[in-house]
């Protein structure tokens, strides 16, 4: 019983009743707390394995979503990828290997939106990844591209072109390596293979029956496209031309200059070896040697023009597609008939053939322009110049008649003006341009079309000896007329058009080999050239055209050499040089190059005009020689060598130019040397029949260069009262005008060169006599002299003096005055080291070479005339002379004179205390004389 009751106690039943509150259980959880989330994104990321998009999708998720069956999901995934990669740029590098193949696979997706998104993503990736990083994935990319381009669905084909655009923009080099495959795809896009029984849309077109024999392709149209066949072809051809452009430009072969643009024809061939440029001074200082020869010179460089055995390139692989003329030819064989068909359709497609066949709609014009561009590029595909010629000949043989028939029938084309009335067409056009991807395709000027047509046609004209006069006249005539009209009607042309036109002119001049044609064309170009206010690029082009025509071609082609227009242009060059002045150094450089070549080649027109304008060109005030930059000045100096004659006035100009500071000292020495070489006195020029420089003129040139100041300048100096002037006194018989340091050093360098020239003139005695007369006549009477003139005289006299010749007393007196004045100037003024050294050197050289000069100098020192302040100066001067080792013997020889001077000095110096300077002087004196006696004693012993 109790047992039972107990059990009941343990399991006490709580009675629940309706309407009463439920009692709380004992173990109930208290929920009166609030929780807060702690968000640790970094930690989570790490766990997750990468950053995510705003939808929390990591790159792995996104990539897997790309394979989703739903196109919206794929599109979103592509967008997400773009977002993710844009916000985390480091991922691009990391994940390129996974992302690129996935994206490439979507080029051929069924859904248009996905393809657009894929292209966008590709564009984004292309901006981030450099070409060398893409290179490993490029085979895959291009395989997918090819797949898309050859896809059966037209929409995918269209979008493939966009992908191509992206790749062309960013990786032209990589893409152009795959040209073998891609070019065929282009053909597939607008045509169909004939072989397998031409299907649905294939049709022959106008040129189809001709094409049936050669090419296995026929133009195709498909009705399912959203655009017209013509528009579609335009978009394809535009890409094709861009692609070919890339191939031409990126070709790794040697002739890079070929693809450099329109100017290539007369751009000349660039050197493949970059030569070492060394100047002697650098080389001498550096003490290292120049490395000239690669492989220590054992192997010849690979640029040799000799080809001993055919080079076999085992590893060429893909890139050998368009390397030879044959492959290009093969490609052209299929492409050109297609292009012709497109052309015919564009011509006839618009409207019924009428008499206004030359009027074209905008679209047809764009199409034609692309066709011509492609033809032009095909020509340039051949890597070597000789192959190019071969290709030209092949084009001529195979297609001249077709080209003539189709292209030249309505040759100067114009634009058909259509009133744009329909909104619908506008909308359509806009859409078309979106597909075309470039506004450039839409508006092609008729001029550009015509010029391009000229270029294509002219390249077909024959070159060389096989030419018969009158051949090709039927189609070259209109071209010539067009070019002449365009150039000479006074209109302004853009530089691009002009470059193309000039190329046409160049080619025609060379191939036609007729003087009449050359004159006509050059006349037209000259009219263009004579226009005023041409833009700089246009002016440069025209100038380059003429100068390169002269420099490169005129030797091989006598009809060019004899052209009167060219001669007229050449004759006008020196005048232009003068007129141009310092305004445009680039144009001046071009002109100078022409003048230099023409002068070197003895062109009479140029030489005559150069002679006539020499005074203006070499004018020391505002002539080209002073206003142009230094490297052009050098050309001017070099041109001087070819001048037929140097009249006195030109030499006067040159002498002034040498001494103005605007021509550097090294250039001035080069100038003097050039004149020296032309003078018969130098013994260099062997031809004795003509004398370019008369001896009198040459010597006066040298003397006035030596002086450095014109006679007017010196005369003005006599009256002038400037601060640089040191007044004359007993210690400085001449009053010396101190020139600026720069002028002094410049003049000093010039003097060195003049002295060298005078030294090598042959008979020294005569030369010195002339110099002596000139000095006596021009300088001896003067009271004020610039210090550089004094230094120059002191420098050149001892260098030129012959031992057998006795200089005149007047000269010696003048020189002793000079040296005394210079010495006292040095003692009084603070001078720069360079100047002081130069003057010391000159003075001592003069005094030691001419012993009489020293005696005269000492004789002119009259102590009684000096005032008190000048005595220390004199003492300093004497001690300087005494200290100089070279002069010691001479001083000792004048011992008596010296003794009286010193005695006078001590007598006149009244002060009681013995100053330092006097002590010094006496010390020097005793040392010199005792040393001399010792020397004498030593000599006696011997």
């Amino acid at each position: 019983m109790t047992k039972k009751r107990k059990r009941q106690d343990d399991f006490h039943k709580v009675k629940l009743k309706v309407g009463k509150k439920k009692p709380k259980v004992e173990n109930a959880t208290n929920v009166n707390f609030r929780s807060k989330r702690i968000h640790l994104p970094e930690q989570l990321n790490r766990d997750d394995g990468g950053p995510t998009t705003h939808r929390q999708l990591s790159i792995k998720d996104l990539l897997s979503q790309l394979h989703h069956y739903n196109s919206t999901v794929k599109q979103d995934a592509l967008q997400g990828l773009r977002e993710l990669l844009a916000s985390h740029p480091y991922l691009v590098e990391q994940q390129a290997s996974t992302v690129l193949p996935e994206v490439a696979a979507l080029f051929t997706d069924k859904d248009g939106g996905v393809r657009v998104a894929a292209t966008r993503l590709l564009r984004f990736l292309a901006q981030c990844i450099p070409a060398e990083h893409v290179a490993p994935f490029f085979p895959l990319l291009s395989a997918h591209l090819t797949c898309a381009m050859t896809h059966i669905a037209p929409g995918i084909q269209e979008d493939a072109l966009r992908v191509l655009d992206v790749l062309l923009e960013h990786y032209p080099a990589l893409l152009s390596q795959r040209h073998a495959v891609l070019l065929a795809n282009f053909l597939e896009l607008i045509s169909q293979r004939r072989m397998g029984g031409a299907g649905g849309g294939a049709r022959g077109g106008a040129g189809g029956d001709k094409g049936a024999g050669k090419g296995s392709y026929a133009l195709s149209i498909s009705t399912s496209r959203s655009v017209t066949a013509q528009q579609w072809r335009l978009t394809v051809l535009l890409r094709l031309s861009r692609f070919l452009q890339a191939v031409v430009e990126e070709r790794p072969t040697e002739d890079r200059a070929e693809g450099a643009g329109f100017l290539s024809v007369w751009g000349g061939e660039k050197a493949v070896v970059t030569p070492l440029e060394v100047t002697w001074e650098e080389q001498a200082c550096r003490t290292g040697a120049v490395r000239v020869f690669e492989n220590s010179g054992a192997k010849p460089t690979p640029h040799s023009t000799y080809r001993l055995r055919p080079e076999t390139e085992p590893g060429a692989g893909v890139s050998e597609g368009l390397c030879s003329a044959e492959t290009v030819q093969g490609f052209a064989e299929t492409l050109v008939p297609l292009l012709l068909e497109v052309w015919v359709e564009a011509m006839g497609g618009d409207r019924a053939p009428s008499d206004s066949g030359h009027l074209l709609s905008e679209e047809a014009m764009a199409l034609m322009f692309q066709i011509l561009t492609i033809l032009q590029l095909l020509r340039r595909l051949a890597p070597h110049r000789d192959q190019q010629d071969m290709l030209d000949a092949w084009f001529r043989n195979s297609y001249l008649n077709e080209f003539k028939q189709h292209f030249m029938k309505n040759f100067p084309y114009c634009q058909l003006e259509i009133a744009r009335h329909k909104k619908k067409t506008d909308a359509k056009r806009n859409r078309q341009q979106v597909v075309g991807g470039a506004a450039a395709s839409g508006n092609v000027e008729p001029l550009a079309l015509n010029v391009m047509l000229c270029q294509v046609m002219v390249s077909l004209s024959l070159r060389g000896r096989g030419h018969v006069t009158g051949q090709d006249a039927d189609w070259l005539g209109p071209i010539r007329a067009f070019v002449t009209d365009t150039l000479s009607n006074g209109g302004k042309l853009g530089s691009k058009q002009l470059a193309a036109l000039l190329e046409v002119v160049w080619r025609m001049i060379i191939t036609q080999q007729s003087r009449l044609v050359t004159e006509e064309l050059l006349q037209a170009v000259y009219i263009q050239y004579q226009q005023r206010n041409l833009g700089l690029p246009v002016r440069t082009l025209l100038l380059r055209f003429f100068s390169q025509l002269y420099i490169q071609e005129h030797q091989n082609h006598p009809h060019i050499a004899r052209s009167r227009m060219l001669a007229r242009w050449l004759a006008s060059v020196p005048v232009q040089l003068v007129q141009l002045g310092s305004r445009n150094p680039q144009l001046s450089a071009q002109l100078l190059q022409t003048v230099q070549s023409a002068a070197a080649w003895g062109n009479n027109d140029v030489l005559r005009n150069l002679q006539a304008h020499a005074c203006n060109i070499y004018d020391p005030q505002e002539g080209c020689i002073v206003v142009l930059p230094a490297e052009l000045q050098q050309h001017l100096v070099q041109i001087l060598y070819f001048m037929p004659a140097f009249p006195a006035d030109v030499l006067a100009c040159l002498s002034h130019a040498c001494n103005t500071g605007r021509v550097s000292a090294s250039l001035a020495t080069a100038l003097i040397r050039t004149v020296h070489l032309r003078s018969p006195l130098s013994g260099w020029s062997s031809s004795s029949h003509d004398v370019p420089v008369r001896d009198v003129d040459y010597l006066s040139f040298l003397f006035s260069t030596l002086t450095g100041f014109s006679s007017e300048g010196l005369r003005e100096l006599q009256q002038a009262d400037e601060e640089g002037l040191l007044p004359a006194s007993a210690l400085s018989p001449l009053s010396v005008f101190s020139t600026p340091l720069q002028q002094f050093t410049h003049h000093w360098d010039v003097v060195e060169e003049v002295c060298h020239c005078l030294e090598t003139l042959g008979s020294r005695v005569q030369c010195f006599e002339i110099l002596q007369n000139a000095i006596i006549k021009n300088l001896c009477g003067l009271v004020v002299l610039p210090d550089c003139v004094c230094a120059a005289m002191l420098r050149c006299v001892p260098r030129l003096l012959d031992v057998n010749f006795l200089p005149s007393d007047t000269l010696l007196h003048f020189l002793s005055d000079c040296s005394l004045s210079m010495l006292s100037l040095l003692l009084q003024l603070e001078q720069s080291a360079r100047k002081r050294d130069a003057v010391w050197e000159a003075c001592f050289a003069a005094l030691s070479t001419v012993p009489r000069l020293l005696r005269l100098l000492l004789q002119s020192l009259r102590v009684c005339d000096l005032c008190e302040e000048e005595l220390p100066l004199l003492a300093q001067l004497l001690s300087l002379l005494l200290q100089h080792t070279q002069l010691r013997n001479h001083m000792a020889a004048n011992n008596a004179l010296l003794q009286t001077i010193i005695q006078d000095l001590t007598r006149f110096y009244g002060s009681e205390t013995r100053e330092q300077w006097l002590t010094d002087l006496l010390y020097c004196y005793s040392v010199t004389l005792s040393g001399h006696r010792a020397n004498m004693a030593v000599r006696d012993i011997y």
Partner: protein, 431 residues
């Protein structure tokens, strides 16, 4: 005294004592002199080791001497104009003369004028052949140097005007001198110009390799045979040496003296017009307008010898002494024909009959087919043979040698025996 290996051939513009003279390279003594007229610059040339040709200064003929008959002028070749420069091909088959702006090419064997090349615009200043006579270079006062292929020039195709293989047009003032290195078509050419530069080119490609800018005009240039150094004679009388390959190893850098004085040969007082290096590259010869020819030691840059002339030196060159030079009795292998003055002698009914085939063979053309590689192999085997023989001996040589040695041993034994017998007799003789 044995005949010298190399001699100095020099000429001056005065021609008072002789037209040109031959000096011994090492003693400086005058060995031979050739009289008559005087020679213009860069026009003295030795033809085939048998004749000396020199263009008369300012006149339109070429003086010819047989190399062994020193005093007599052998003949004068009259040319269409004043000859500026002259050179004979090293194989002795052709002579080139620069007359005004045209290059005239004569064939020695017939005297025919083969070509007149007028591609220069101004007078020519220098002509040089490559060492294998396959190419020549012409330099003119129109700033350009042209490289010609001799074979393409000689082709008797009247319809085609010969074109130079390369046009070297980087100079901006007249070219003064040209030097052609060794190695035939792979040679390098150095050109000197008044524009103060010397440029080094490659014949095979026509590309410029090096341009050195000096501060004076350069009048003459030469390379040593190894092409280690480029020597350039300036218009102020100094000769500059440019080192073309770095031979100095870092370990002897401590002893280098200052760069400036190290690389200039100073001594001339006027234009240095001709330079030439001896075969072994140790001696440099220079001729100048100060009327001296100087010989320098390349290593120490000292002037070893000075040969005074009576006028401005126009030609000075070191040549290997021709064999005939010191044999008074020798005779030239071929007599010089009359040089024709017009391009086509057959049309004027002289020279080769029309239709006759003209066969031109080099004097050494047939047997000198051996290539350098073969020569090298031959020399190598020769050298090896010498060393091998001294150490091991081989084949029949060794057999002969062994028998010789045995013979000698036998003689020695016999002598020994004799000596022994003699001494035993002497000792055992009962006195």
């Amino acid at each position: 005294m044995s005949a010298p290996m190399e001699v100095v051939l020099s000429a001056d513009s005065a021609g008072l004592m002789w037209n040109c003279a031959v000096f011994d390279l090492h003693t400086g003594s005058n060995v031979l002199s050739y009289r008559g007229g005087n020679s213009s610059a860069r026009s003295l040339t030795v033809l085939n080791g048998e004749y000396i040709l020199g263009a008369q200064l300012g006149k339109n003929f070429i003086n010819v001497w047989e190399i062994q008959r020193k005093d007599q002028l052998q003949q004068k070749i009259v040319c269409p104009g004043i000859v500026n420069c002259l050179v004979a091909s090293p194989d002795g088959l052709y002579v080139l003369a620069g007359i005004a702006e045209a290059v005239y090419l004569w064939e020695i064997s017939t005297g025919n004028l083969l070509a007149v090349l007028s591609r220069h615009y101004q007078d020519l200043s220098c002509l040089r052949f490559t060492d294998d006579s396959s190419h020549f270079v012409s330099g003119g006062k129109d700033n350009r140097a042209l490289i010609w292929n001799l074979a393409s020039v000689v082709q008797l195709d009247s319809s085609r005007v010969p074109e130079p293989r390369h046009v070297l047009s980087c100079h901006s003032l007249p070219i003064t001198d040209i030097h052609c290195g060794l190695m035939g078509p792979q040679a390098r050419v150095a050109t000197a110009s008044l524009d103060q530069t010397v440029k080094l080119w490659e014949i095979s490609s026509g590309e410029m390799l090096l341009s050195v800018l000096f501060d004076v005009s350069i009048m003459s240039v030469t390379l040593d045979p190894c092409e280690y150094f480029l020597f350039c004679g300036g218009s102020d009388g100094s000769i500059f040496q440019v080192s073309l390959c770095s031979t100095a190893v870092s370990r002897d850098k401590t002893f280098q003296s200052d760069g400036e004085g190290n690389q200039v040969f100073k001594g001339h007082r006027n234009l240095v017009t001709c330079l030439s290096v001896s075969m072994d590259g140790t001696l440099l010869l220079s001729g100048s307008h100060d009327e001296t020819v100087r010989l320098w030691d390349v290593q120490s840059k000292q002037c070893i010898r000075c040969i005074h002339h009576k006028g401005q030196v126009t030609n000075a060159v070191i040549v290997p002494a021709p064999a005939n030079m010191f044999l008074p009795d020798s005779r030239p292998g071929i007599t010089l024909p009359r040089f024709s003055r017009h391009l086509n002698p057959s049309e004027q009914g002289e020279g080769v009959a029309t239709g006759g085939a003209c066969l031109r063979l080099g004097t050494r053309g047939q047997d000198s087919d051996e290539t350098y590689l073969e020569k090298r192999d031959r020399l190598h085997s020769l050298m090896c043979a010498v060393t091998d023989k001294s150490v091991f001996g081989d084949g029949e040589n060794s057999k002969v040698r062994v028998s010789e040695l045995e013979e000698e041993v036998r003689t020695l034994k016999k002598i020994n025996k004799d000596l022994y017998e003699f001494s035993t007799q002497l000792l055992t003789k009962p006195n």
